[in-house]
């Protein structure tokens, strides 16, 4: 089997559903989504208008599923979608869309534009027009269990280091634990402090938890590249692990799209409800706070600000939790302009951070984030997504801005005795 235009078009016909049809037929062509997209605002190039990125999907919808479109097609009056065209569209559908969902919020008729981008990617991928970086990440995910090729021995090594640092044992494969904790490869390789922080917090809260040796990776390249069949395999591994260990709640790590994949897409992908709950680590921590199980001491006095990961705040509704938690440990917390629901993306979500060709555009798009940060004057930036964190750190380095980036869970753990 190999990719082909025919397969791509067939998949597009398959993924056009009632929401997509109603979105296309209710679009009023106002162009307000352009101003919502950081790739448009920072480049001024109208091709980055979100609804325009969907042009191939719109044409398939129009030609295959509308009366006038069908008639026009029959009479040979419509322009079929070509392979060349999809190739031209690849940078619009992948490089310049982080699936951040800001356009969906801006649309005055309520069209979920990002929902449609996700569907267009289904067709683009099997037509052979997904970026190499994302294809490779997906391959590694399927073959090794992690988009970065992190296997169990690597995790075991990090567990050993973290245990040595904190003196707290990290449980593995404990059947019947209340919480199953997932990691993202990024955390295992770059930010193992997260694991230490979780173990400190769980110990203080007196909760039983475990890692799962067969399902520790939370990220899902399938969702990013837009191939549900792959996303389903990856989510299935977590579901199998969680059900085998009979845990009550699976905790999504500080990773935006992992949370979306697991919490919102997952049950639809596997076609049934889970037997366990899924919460983001910040939701769990906020519950601990409310129950008095999270006790911190001391405050960060330096000014700090928070970057809302798109998948958490906009697509996931985790808005108040990080603020409640920050107030426990930060005396000088400031919001950026447009923070919360309309926060600007770091520029690297939705798989964009894995696309090498997109790097220059990603740095250009970061200017809006740069301006947001400069306005606050904060020297510390807290976030809750390892992908955001690495993208932010790279871009801050690129623009030579002296701002430290730290995960919120880690920050909280620093204030636990």
């Amino acid at each position: 089997m190999s990719a082909s235009l025919q397969k791509g078009l067939s998949v597009l016909m398959e993924v056009i559903d009632a929401p997509v049809a109603s979105f296309f037929s209710s679009c009023v062509h106002c162009g307000l989504c352009a101003e919502a997209c950081l790739f448009y605002t920072e480049t001024g190039d109208p091709k980055y208008t979100p609804i325009y990125k969907l042009e191939p999907l719109r044409r398939v919808y129009q030609q295959e599923y509308t009366l006038t479109g069908r008639l026009a097609k029959m009479l040979g009056l419509s322009k079929p979608v070509t392979d060349q065209e999809l190739e031209i569209w690849q940078p619009l559908v992948y490089d310049s869309c982080t699936l951040c969902g800001r356009c969906s919020m801006a649309c005055p008729v309520g069209n979920d534009i990002v929902y449609m981008v996700r569907r267009l990617r289904e067709g683009m991928a099997v037509a052979g027009h997904a970026p190499d970086g994302l294809v490779d990440a997906s391959r590694r995910s399927l073959e090794t269990g992690s988009p970065m090729g992190v296997r169990l021995p690597a995790l075991m090594a990090q567990i050993k280091h973290v245990q040595a640092d904190t003196g707290i044992e990290i449980p593995l494969d404990v059947t019947g634990a209340e919480y199953m904790v997932l990691m993202s490869s990024m955390e295992i390789i770059n930010f193992p402090e997260y694991l230490g922080a979780v173990s400190k917090i769980m110990k203080q809260a007196g909760k039983s938890w475990t890692l799962c040796s067969e399902a520790f990776e939370a990220t899902n390249s399938g969702v990013q590249i837009g191939v549900s069949d792959i996303a389903k395999v990856l989510v299935g591994r977590i579901v199998d692990g969680a059900e085998k260990l009979r845990v009550k709640t699976v905790i999504s790590p500080e990773c935006g799209h992992a949370y979306t994949a697991l919490r919102w897409d997952g049950p639809n992908l596997i076609g049934r409800p889970y037997t366990f709950d899924v919460l983001h680590i910040l939701e769990v921590l906020d519950i601990f706070r409310l129950e008095g199980l999270l006790k911190t001491s001391g405050f960060e006095d330096a000014q700090l600000t928070f970057h809302d990961p798109c998948q958490l705040v906009r697509r996931g509704g985790v808005l108040d939790q990080p603020r409640n938690l920050l107030k426990m440990v930060a005396s000088n917390y400031v919001e950026t302009r447009d923070s919360g629901k309309m926060n600007w993306c770091c520029g690297g979500g939705g798989g964009v951070s894995t696309i090498d060709e997109a790097e220059a555009l990603r740095f250009a798009a970061f200017r809006v984030k740069k301006a947001q940060l400069e306005e606050t004057g904060a020297k510390t930036l807290v976030t809750a997504c390892a992908n955001c964190r690495i993208v932010l750190e790279e871009a801050l380095e690129h623009y030579q801005m002296k701002i430290d980036v730290i995960g919120l869970t880690e920050l909280l753990a620093q204030h636990i005795d």
């Binding site: 089997m1 190999s2 990719a3 398959e14 991928a125 294809v135």
Partner: protein, 361 residues
């Protein structure tokens, strides 16, 4: 009257209390939909301002515009208009006649060239060189062009000056046109209406004196604050329209119950004016309240827009084609839907699980 007194001084001389003056300013602010604080700004500006020289030219008109302003219930806030301005030429109102009347106009023009306000009521005939209406031997056209040259702004009072009005109605034997058809290089405010509401004239002057500029205008050059909504939008009979309760004759039960006059030809839905809110004769009532539909007098060509008594539009009869069209529509919709479902199902059944190998050519 001299132009060198401020309005504040003038009011004191006339024995008008500060309280009455503030009431006037508040009413003006609210009528023009200005923020509440601006009443004081108006009061402040008006009491300090030097009364501007105003030249009032009357052409093809019936004097109702002047009557509207001067005969409004007395004492009214509108009467203050004459305290706000120095009316230096108005041939209906002035005592002078003949050469001395024309001299007062020339003096006023000379003394305040570039600063005076020009008020015009009446249309201007331009056919045959404009000979159909002359004053002191000069055509209206000639006079308007001369006086407009030195005006800071022009206020066209009434529908004739604003849009041509009744003189302009078919067959328009004198070739009557509006001020804006002749003067193209000056700011013109159209205060249309046959006659216009006195408070609207006052309001525009108060706005000009307070802010030094004309108010925001609509596409027909009328101040939006007064002409922004239709009579229908603000009509107290609107609920009956919404319920479909219409008077069918002027003496049926519906008419006696005060139902909507739409079917009797009321032009309220297409007429922009403030009658329904400011009302007439000291707030007593307005035409619809007196039982007659709106004639649409503040709109262009109102005289030629068909009978005052035929409805703007009437619902089509029973939906004769409706049922057939609906059935056909449903059938086409159902057919497309069935075809779409089949197509989508075919695509779904053709689905082969995608693997990494499927992502590369």
């Amino acid at each position: 009257m001299t132009a060198h007194e401020s309005l504040g001084e003038r009011l004191i001389q006339q024995g008008i209390s500060r309280r009455a003056f503030l009431k006037f300013c508040t009413a003006m602010a609210s009528m023009m939909a200005l923020p509440p604080g601006s009443a004081m700004a108006i009061a402040d500006a008006l009491s300090k301002t030097l009364r501007p020289s105003v030249i009032w030219l009357s052409f093809q008109e019936c004097t109702a515009c002047t009557e509207s302003l001067t005969r409004s219930y007395s004492p009214t806030l509108e009467s203050l208009i004459f305290e706000m301005i120095s009316l230096d030429y108005h041939h209906t109102l002035q005592a002078a006649a003949g050469f001395s009347a024309e001299k007062s106009r020339e003096d006023a023009m000379h003394n305040a060239y570039g600063k005076y306000l020009l008020v015009v009521d009446g249309a201007i005939p331009i056919k045959d060189g404009g000979i159909y209406s002359t004053i002191a031997g000069r055509t209206n056209l000639d006079l308007l062009q001369e006086v407009a040259k030195g005006a800071a702004a022009i206020i066209a009072v009434g529908t004739c000056a604003s849009f041509g009005g009744i003189p302009n109605a078919k067959p328009n034997p004198t070739g009557a046109v509006a001020v804006s058809d002749i003067i193209k290089d000056k700011a013109i405010v159209n205060i249309s209406g046959c006659p216009p509401i006195p408070a609207v004239i006052t309001g525009v002057l108060a706005h000009y004196l307070t802010f030094g500029e004309l108010p925001e205008l609509d596409d027909l050059g009328r101040p939006k604050s007064f002409y922004g909504e239709t009579i229908h939008d603000r009509c107290y009979r609107r609920p009956f329209y919404d319920q479909g309760k219409f008077a069918k004759t002027f003496d049926d039960e519906g008419a006696r119950n005060g139902w909507c006059l739409f079917e009797l030809g009321c032009k309220g839905p297409t007429t922009h004016n403030a009658c329904a809110t400011t009302k007439w004769n000291g707030g007593t009532s307005f035409p619809i309240e007196s039982g007659h539909g709106c004639l649409g007098c503040s709109e262009p060509n109102f005289w030629d827009a068909g009978s005052f008594y035929s409805a703007l539009s009437m619902p089509a009869g029973a939906l004769k084609l409706g049922t057939a069209a609906a059935v056909a529509g449903v059938a086409v919709g159902a057919a497309v839907s069935v075809a779409n479902r089949a197509k989508k199902q075919a695509a779904q059944s053709a689905h082969r699980t995608a693997t990494i190998a499927d992502l590369k050519e």
